[in-house]
């Protein structure tokens, strides 16, 4: 690990102004950043510690939604009574990720910025990586790509977005609140992440010095929700495919539905096409199958991950079945 400056601001304003210099990084739970620093993948010159900022509250909003501070730990959010009651898909997603120890450290804001587990990205000796060293090439395309993305990839990067929480947040249409040198703004989660294109090192819309302060989750369209994560082993593994479903069913018909997928995209993957297929239709296996086909229509597998196309479809179908039951 290289030497770095360590700042410990007392206010959000101070944090933002401290972090606007080049090479600065915010540190929250540190469960990704410290790893990557030890691996020399991240080499910040300054760490701005946001752990003491007053951003750890979960509050109900007048509109029935929920405001979640950026520093709310994954464990606290997963077991929050309102989350368990109204946003079960989020609780399930959080608890399917990592391990209890990591969830006790990892934060809401940090998880929105979780970086890929692509082994070529995480190892500076593992050959070129456009995300780590822009313009050098992608080692995963012709390498070990079993766990890589099949949606949203480019010729420059096929790294999978690793988060579970963000997939549930996407299905819940969360709004991300940001504070930066130019003031405050909010961005819908579906506009927050960027596709890799030819700039895979730019993963989201955050500008230098911008800090996620909190997330607002609007009232869910239904409490019929489910998060399903499929992977090789039963715990402590990133998704090979996952699906978050929130479905409003009326008289056996799907009034409206939100579907997001994880483990298959270069970003949390909202499946609008699948939602369109289902809206107004009876909640039947045939329609679930059609929705799954629509969700994966643009999939582009590589040498080792063609199975993810089928697996993701089955994941969506089962999640729809459980959520609409």
């Amino acid at each position: 690990m290289n030497q770095f400056n360590y700042l410990h601001p007392a206010s959000t304003d101070q944090a933002v102004s401290s972090a606007s210099s080049d090479g600065s990084k915010f540190i929250a739970g540190g469960t990704t950043l410290v790893d990557l620093m030890k691996l020399y993948v991240e080499n910040p010159s300054t760490l701005v510690d946001v752990n003491d900022l007053p951003l750890a509250q979960v509050e109900s909003l007048p509109n029935g939604g929920l405001r979640v501070g950026a520093m709310v730990r994954n464990s606290d959010l997963a077991f929050h009574p309102t989350v368990k009651e109204k946003y079960a898909v989020l609780s399930e997603a959080l608890l399917s990720g990592a391990s209890p120890q990591l969830r006790n450290m990892a934060t809401t804001g940090g998880n929105l910025l979780q970086r890929t587990r692509c082994p070529y990205f995480r190892d500076v000796t593992a050959g070129p990586c456009n995300k780590r060293n822009p313009g050098t090439g992608c080692s995963a395309i012709d390498g070990f790509n079993r766990t890589m993305a099949i949606l949203g990839t480019s010729d420059h990067c096929i790294a999978t977005h690793p988060s579970d929480m963000d997939v549930a947040m996407t299905a819940l249409e969360a709004l991300i609140f940001i504070e930066g040198p130019k003031g405050k703004r909010s961005v819908p989660i579906n506009d927050f992440y960027k596709l890799p294109g030819d700039t895979p090192h730019i993963e989201n819309v955050l500008e230098p010095g911008e800090l996620i302060t909190h997330v607002e989750i609007p009232p869910a369209i239904s409490t019929k929700q489910h998060y399903l994560k499929l992977r090789d082993r039963a715990s402590y593994e990133f998704a090979l495919a996952s699906a978050a479903v929130v479905a409003r069913v009326e008289g056996g018909h799907i009034h409206s539905v939100r579907i997001a997928m994880g483990g298959v995209g270069t970003r949390p993957w909202r499946a609008h096409e699948a939602e369109a297929v289902l809206t107004g239709k009876p909640a039947t296996p045939a329609h679930f199958q059609a929705a799954a086909e629509a969700a994966l229509r643009g999939a582009k597998p590589h040498t080792e991950n063609a199975f993810k196309v089928e697996l993701a479809k089955r994941c969506v179908i089962r999640a729809l079945k459980v959520a609409t039951a």
């Binding site: 290289n2 070529y120 000796t125 593992a126 390498g143 499929l230 039963a234 089955r314």
Partner: protein, 758 residues
Amino acid sequence: MANGAMDDASLNTATTSIIGAAVPRIDGPFKATGTAQYTADFHFPNLVHAVPVQSTIANGTIRKLDTAKAESMPGVLLVLHKDNIGKLYRVIPNDFSATSSEARPPFEDTRIFYWGQYVAVVIAETLEQATAAAKAVQVEYDSAPASLKPSLADYAGKRKSVSKRGDVNKAYEEAPVKVDQLYVTPVETHNPIEMHASVAVWDGDNVTLYETTQGVWNAKLAMAQILGIPSENVQIITKYLGSGFGGKLFPWPHSAMAAVAAKRLNRPVKLSVNRRMMFSNVGHRPRCEQQMKIGATKDGKLVALRQDYLNHTSFIDDIDEGCGECTPYLYSVPNLEVTSALVQRNTGTPSPMRGPGAVPGLFAMESAMDEMAIALNIDPVELRLRNEPEKDESTGQKFSSRHLKECLETGREKFGWSKRNPAIGSMRGTGSQAGKILGWGMAAASWGAFRFGANASVELCPNGRVCVRSATQDIGTGTYTIFAQVLHDKIGVPLDRIDVFLGDTAHPEGAMSGGSWATASCIPSLVMACDNAKRTLLRLAVETEGSPHHNHDAAKLELTSGFVHPSDQPYHQGIPFEEIIRIARVSGVTGQGRTVSTFEDPKAKDFSLHSYSAVFVEVEWEPDIARLRVSRVVSVIDGGKIINRKAAANQIMGAVVMGVGMGLLEETRYDQRNGQPINGSMADYLVATCPDSPTIDVTFLDYPDLVMNEYGARGVGEIGLAGVAPAITAAVYHATGIRVRELPVRIEDLLKSNIREA
């Protein structure tokens, strides 16, 4: 029982004996409280840290190695590499007096044989400084094309005949029912929780190496050869091991790097191998490709068995995995041949991994037997029972104690096998398994029984305590406790008055912790040392003036629960042994003991010595999402007399969990361009986690094998793993209709099942 030459259940030690009891580990409290010092925990004044620099190519030579920048960095004391490491030597090859894991000492020349090979080592005041400077060493290579292809199928060279009888090819051709399949097991990496480490401390010409080794005595002899110094100048200490699975049997190059650095700097040096390095530098189970041909009569009698296996090895060492370990004696078959060959790849040197040879070999053998059972339409348990041999057909020897039939029959009963419907995908779960398809599979397994030379010294101390010393080590499975149990059994003092000193070459040469032989090897030396100490004590009791037993007949005295007393009187009417020591004015009474290996024991030569097991596995399967988990395992072990029921059951349970990893998860992947183990971390290389662990039912048949030692113990380190993977793939086939012949079973395989709904 039919084949047991010397065993008899009535010889089982009485249940009140400490031998066979579920004694909690005497070292448990130290481990639970964190006071047990593992190798990397040793710290000394002025200690400095070594961090290796690793090759980033898999084949070629070092063109230029520039250490200037690293040497100028804060805290850096020394950078060792091929130009300044000085003279290091190879251990004499194929000489069983000492063994190293990798023939080549560190930095022997400029050649690179595998990704991650050490090319330099940086020593600095702190670990962080050494890590940063290691990154700053600039290495330029002349890279050559590397041989990295996983498949070994294009091998066309010679094969060695490992075992042969009858005319297998003719018998196979003529057999009415045949199975001919290729079975593949991938590279697996040992992942003991404790990573390798070496802490080197010199005192003049003498070096103490704190090592993570499964064999302190071998490490002493091997390190002396590598360093070119007399073996009496080398002391090896391994107080506790966080397991090794075979990867820590013999020294790896990092130990010599630490030793040379410490000598050069005249300061203690610590070198910890990190998890990523564990995947490239300290061994692995090689990939094995085994073509199995079995021929049988229609009523299920085997007539031909042919196993042609390949395994990969490094360009540095020829390591034969030995997949034919169990094939020649497991079943009765008149015509058999096993052949082997090695295929070189640009990887590090493979090393034994829990059940070397037998574990991949039995995956092939038992998978083929399952396929044969299906081809014959005979129950797979029944097929094994029909082919039980009367003797070891490869050597003609009698079995010392073979109870495979009872393992199969007991397992069948405990598992509820009679309720099995053999039709694929036909069985449904109930209760918590409702909505899931169940698959049931089984396999038989075996592992050799060995007893190696070992020594122990037992001391009756003036403070009433009893000490035992031996330069063996506790790999983590309970050797400390087993020593204490034997001493308690022989001397009678309570466990809390027994001190066991292991893991230090200052003690008499002991056994290696490998091959499931530590317990069997240690017992005779312990028993003999206790007997000798006792004899001397009783002699002092009758010869020493002032002793209450003075001038009595020593043959009529006994030592019971620490009291010396006439045989015809209760022990508490005698006197404590420490009183005899005090009256005799001696510092204590010692006894030495020595074990003769089975290879040198004329009595053992008449016998085929093996452990056996039967494994029954249930998988639960959700076809719509291709989710498969192992839910239940019954393991029946014929491992001789069990010394510590608790520690032994713990080993078998751990082995079952390891088998779940082997069956469903584990595979080391090398990038085909640069040879890097690309999944070299505990997040990316998948082992079974707690939620992956099934319900495990362990049964020990507990027949003493008295050829091995007076208790009849054999050892249970590897037998628990041997049958798990083929039982899993048999269960997977039963549930899904998918026969996986290349491990691990993956979701990719399961998605091909025609069964889509439970």
